[in-house]
């Protein structure tokens, strides 16, 4: 049944492939913090990105999903221009995003709520000037009529794609996030109690003259309602780095995270490589492999698909083993 459902989704996505070309990064919804805290995504270090006003993402089609909302964009902002957005450095309000996620544990379901927001995002001056010059190029394309009297859509598309590439480089950004996970041993709402919390920060550096960009992570997570037993995994401090390479169809990411188990006074680490290939505007394949934190049963093997349907982009990645 699961295979039929996945096949159906792939067929639907392929049949929608005639839509306009989109960049590979646009197929991703920012992962809900709850997924990251639960180690349920293919990557442990997420790039800070611009969240959607309202979005839905699926961990996979039968294990759970998330909804997210960015309240700032619930209403129109008549005076908020593109130029203002690019020049703006502190972007906390615009990017403040709330999410709720649910996913399957071994014998029960877990519920998570989380937040994320970008504290700042600063383009270097030459890049900011290039972006605004490219904006002007789009405006010129939009306001120059073809001999037939219409808009040269191909020219606008080309200028817009170039703008996307410029926006993705030449900046530094800091994002913070937090989440709390709850579950019930009896699988009833009455018995729901929180069992894990975490807060973290991602710092992204995307040099304009490099094909790579880099993200550094610091994360503290702890178990709630856990008996203070030595040697238990009750609190962790994670720190790590990730490097990403992105081309028109490929996204390659390498990450290393070191985890300090504070109660057990020991260090664990995770090493993962994730590759994404965009087949068409609606369908991308994701593969991730490497070593997870655990001492045993720690091989990461993920193969999944990202599906975009209509205007919502869904993340349908596999879970870690």
């Amino acid at each position: 049944m699961k295979k039929i459902f996945v096949l159906l989704v792939i067929v639907v996505a392929l049949s929608m492939g005639a839509r306009a070309q989109v960049e590979v990064s646009e197929l991703f919804i920012p992962s809900a913090p709850g997924f990251i805290l639960a180690d349920k995504g293919p990557a442990s270090i997420e790039k800070p990105t611009t969240p959607k006003a309202f979005g839905v993402s699926l961990l996979n089609l039968w294990q759970g999903g998330a909804v997210e909302a960015t309240p700032f964009w619930f209403t129109n902002k008549p005076l908020y221009t593109y130029e203002e957005w690019i020049k703006k450095k502190v972007t906390i309000v615009e990017t403040f995003n709330l999410s709720a996620a649910t996913f399957r544990l071994d014998s029960t379901s877990a519920l998570s709520v989380g937040f994320r927001t970008q504290i700042f995002r600063i383009y270097d001056k030459p890049q900011r000037e290039r972006i605004l010059a490219q904006e002007q190029e789009i405006i010129d394309a939009l306001t120059t009529r073809t001999p037939a009297g219409g808009i040269d859509v191909a020219k606008v598309q080309e200028a817009s794609n170039k703008l996307d590439r410029l926006e993705a480089k030449g900046f530094v950004a800091l994002e913070i996030a937090g989440a709390i996970i709850g579950s019930s041993n009896t699988n009833s709402f009455k018995g729901l109690s929180s069992n894990k919390s975490g807060v973290w920060a991602n710092f992204r550096w995307s040099p304009s003259n490099s094909i790579l960009d880099f993200v550094a992570l610091a994360r503290y997570s702890w178990a709630n309602n856990a008996a203070p037993v030595a040697d238990s995994d009750s609190a962790f401090f994670d720190y790590g780095v990730a490097a990403n390479y992105e081309s028109k169809s490929f996204n390659l990411a390498f990450e290393y995270v070191n985890r300090r188990d504070i109660a057990a006074k020991k260090n664990l680490d995770r090493l993962a490589f994730t590759a994404t290939y965009q087949l068409n505007a609606n369908l991308a394949f994701v593969a991730s492999f490497g070593k997870n934190f655990a001492k045993e049963d720690n091989i990461i093997t993920v193969f999944g698909i990202n599906v975009g349907i209509a205007n919502q982009k869904m993340n349908n990645s596999g879970s870690e083993e």
Partner: protein, 126 residues
């Protein structure tokens, strides 16, 4: 990349005869766009691109004119597909004559909204 076209209802603007009339267009919601201004009957546009404090002429010069404004906006905000355009007519000192807000939504990210508006100018009756 689809183009969604819409035609606005004509608007009459009441202006002072001896004052310069300006137009400014603000593309909100962090979207990207510009406009083409032309007077009905002219062969060439009067102004195009980013419209900010564009002098249309003295009020008395505009009484027989019909201003056509085509505003084209590319949805470039990944958060949503909503478009908001504000046409502001004002005098030299910034005093607003009228402000017309156009709100719409395109179906997909990177679609274009094209709005055609028509403005006529009337003399203030004192």
């Amino acid at each position: 990349m689809q183009i969604k076209e819409r035609v606005e209802d004509p608007v009459d603007l009441v202006v002072k005869s001896n004052s310069d009339v300006f137009m400014t267009i603000i593309i909100g919601n962090r979207q990207i766009g510009g406009a083409i201004l032309e007077f009905e009957g002219d062969e060439e546009p009067f102004a195009k691109g980013r419209i900010k404090n564009v002098l249309l002429g003295k009020g008395r010069e505009l009484f027989d004119a019909v201003l056509l404004v085509e505003t084209n906006v590319l949805d470039s905000n990944t958060a949503h597909n909503r478009i908001i355009i504000t046409h502001i007519f004002h005098y030299d000192d910034g005093t607003e004559i009228d402000s017309i807000v156009i709100e719409d939504e395109v179906d997909n990210h990177k679609d274009i909204l094209s709005s055609a508006a028509t403005y006529s100018f009337l003399k203030i009756n004192r």
